[in-house]
């Protein structure tokens, strides 16, 4: 593989991502090897991550192999360590973007029951939450399943915002006795084996840290020939291409990703009728033609196809991972779309599967509900567009869609989804503030602050929570500090009613003050700013951070009667 993926001379150096594709066989081997990892030329990385490790055993042998995995995101780590501290006193100082809890439970096992230990650990995580708003990653030591299960259960209510409990049972199960290496205890202060350190480093750097710091990817776009099967459709024909057991496993995993809420897009240089015939005739393929939410099958450039995919799915290019076996295609799309994430489809389809499993941004912490709704919602969108085109008026359109809006105040259980909306780089984030889960939770407790979620459904689909409004009552005005609405909810003419009713939910009796929206200019949020410009009227000033909006914006309008609107004051404060 080395050498195959070196881009043409004119692109060399433009995209380190292309050079990193060559690392795939090393990084995504079933068991990566330390010496191979150490030899990778990491080069300059654009962002330094500050990680604070609270520990009772050595982390260094894991930290040293995290570097090449973190480099996939262009990150390098700077770590500060606590002393070896069984009591988790959190005395270590220094900058941190992520807190890592690194405990070998064995000394606790000797002293306390599993239930007592889990309760103590929960109390310590609550204490840490009071000290910091950073995401926390608790690496759940798997040596004794009774204890690791108790810990898993203690945190399954997700009551501590921004906490990821990292599971290691699979690694423990795969390595068996090789998980530990008692030789190393005296020398390194940890009993972890080299193999376990490397696999845990991969979990941390490719899954948990990216999930803690960045939004999840939303789509995988993929090539067809020699990617989803062995062979070339145009040459081998639908019956001639080969679904190897490895390709079957890859396809099954891709189907699983769709069920978990990732869009699938097909980007292939082929005749569409041939590809349709392929999926119709190959009943042994786990993937079906209908599984792809966007299809670009023609002879145009793949860069243009991917642009179309992003448009159809209404997502940014940086939310797409593109998988192709052809290094030339990968190089050319990287030139056209520098934000696009790339993956090389290897001849070894199991390696390709692991590339997908571990590509940063692919892992979800388990609440895939909102993502799954997104896929169904888009499937309904074609029909929605048809209704728009046939409706005589906006009122007709709303009547035929049977729109339902539910507004919920300080909805603690939706914390993860609110955080996700706040992190997105989409078109309707008005002030571009990025709140983490701990910051959002603190707003629930402030008497003058309100967080309202907006849930949308119509007769075609349930879109789930598609919006969040963050507001605060100040001396002279209610200030909307941030307004986030998912792109999926745009284009239905519902923005005004969503915002007005969200404010009514937050303050059922308006406090007799003005209304101000905060705003910021970002690369993609022009639709949100255009909306604010319209509702602000003469008060609009493009360069101002705070824009007053006339209070008649809050008044009911006749078309609101066509909507089914419910308000629920869940109040998580």
């Amino acid at each position: 593989m080395r050498g195959e993926l070196i881009p043409p001379a004119d692109t060399k150096g433009l995209d380190p991502q292309l050079e990193r594709l060559e690392w795939q066989p090393v990084l995504f081997a079933e068991q990566p090897r330390r010496w191979e990892l150490m030899k990778l030329p990491l080069g300059r990385r654009s962002r330094t991550l500050h990680l604070r490790v609270h520990r009772n055993h050595g982390f260094e042998s894991t930290a040293s192999v995290m570097a090449p995995f973190l480099a996939l995101c262009n990150w390098q780590a700077e770590l500060v360590y606590s002393d070896y501290d069984d009591s988790l006193s959190f005395g270590v100082e220094g900058p941190a973007e992520v807190e890592i809890i690194w405990l070998d439970y064995s000394r606790h096992v000797a002293r306390t029951s599993a239930t007592e230990f889990a309760a103590w650990l929960r109390q310590r995580m609550q204490a840490l939450r009071q000290l910091t708003d950073c995401p926390i990653i608790l690496v759940n030591w798997p040596e004794n399943p009774v204890y690791s299960n108790a810990v898993q259960e203690a945190f399954q209510d997700h009551a501590i915002p921004g906490l990821i409990v990292g599971r290691l049972e699979d690694i423990r199960g795969r390595l068996g006795e090789r998980f530990l290496d008692e030789r190393m205890l005296g020398a390194s202060g940890s009993r972890l084996s080299d193999a376990a350190s490397i696999l845990i480093a991969r979990e941390l750097a490719c899954r948990w840290i990216p999930a803690a710091l960045a939004p999840r990817l939303k789509a995988i776009a993929m090539d067809l020939d020699n990617t989803l099967f062995a062979g070339v459709l145009g040459e081998d024909g639908p019956e001639g291409v080969l679904l190897t057991p490895e390709h079957r496993s890859l396809q099954e995993y891709i189907v699983e990703l769709r069920r978990g809420g990732l869009f699938l897009a097909l980007v292939s240089r082929n005749e569409e009728r041939d590809v349709r015939e392929l999926f119709a005739r190959r009943s042994d393929f786990p993937l079906r033609w209908e599984d792809f939410s966007a299809k670009q099958v023609h002879w145009q450039s793949k860069a243009e196809s991917l642009r179309q995919v992003a448009q159809v799915l209404r997502i940014g290019m940086d939310a797409i991972l593109y998988l192709d076996d052809n290094p030339g295609e990968l190089a050319s799309v990287a030139m056209a779309h520098p934000d696009l994430r790339l993956a090389h489809a290897s001849g070894d389809a199991l390696l390709t599967r692991r590339v997908l499993e571990y590509s940063p941004g692919m892992w979800s912490r388990g609440d895939a509900g909102a993502d799954a709704l997104r896929v169904k919602d888009l499937d309904a969108d074609q029909e929605r567009r048809q209704i728009v085109s046939q409706a005589a008026s906006q009122a007709d359109y709303l009547r035929s869609l049977q729109v339902s809006l539910v507004f919920e105040l300080n909805h603690r259980a939706a914390l993860g989804r609110i955080h996700e909306l706040s992190q997105k780089t989409n078109q309707f984030n008005l002030a571009l503030k990025r709140f983490n889960e701990a910051e959002i939770e603190r707003r629930y407790a402030f008497p003058d602050s309100r967080v309202v979620t907006i849930r949308l459904a119509d007769r075609l689909s349930d879109s789930g929570i598609i919006g969040a409004l963050f507001a605060r009552e100040e001396a002279e005005a209610v200030v909307v500090e941030e307004l986030c609405i998912s792109c999926r909810a745009l284009g239905r003419g519902l923005e005004d009613v969503m915002v007005a009713k969200a404010l009514e939910t937050a303050w059922p009796n308006w406090p007799g003050k003005g209304l101000v929206f905060e705003q910021a200019t970002g690369p993609r949020n022009a639709p949100a700013r255009h909306w604010l410009q319209r509702v602000a009227g003469d008060a609009w000033e493009a360069s101002a951070n705070r824009i007053p909006v006339p209070l008649n914006f809050l008044h009911n309008r006749p078309e609101y009667a066509l909507l089914d609107i419910k308000t629920e004051r869940i109040d998580g404060s």
Partner: protein
């Protein structure tokens, strides 16, 4: 693998582990390398075990504090 090839590979592993940008000299020893602390030593041990597909004892780990001693021990194990 003859002794010269082993020594060359040991120098290469140490050069990468100690982030020197090139193989260390055959005379390199731990007491002259501030970066070769006890935690770095674990990384060196893991890397050598991976590179040569050998497994060192705890006693080996304590004694392997120079290119010469590492080369000697690896030669015995191969």
């Amino acid at each position: 693998m003859d002794r010269n090839a082993i020594q060359e590979a040991v120098c290469e592993v140490l050069g990468v582990a100690l982030e020197q940008g090139r193989p260390v000299a055959p005379a390199c020893c731990r007491e002259e390398q501030p970066a070769w602390d006890s935690l770095k030593h674990i990384e060196v041990i893991f890397a050598l075990e991976d590179r040569f597909k050998v497994r060192f004892s705890e006693a080996d780990m304590q004694q392997m504090d120079s290119v010469g001693k590492i080369t000697q021990r690896v030669s015995e194990l191969l």
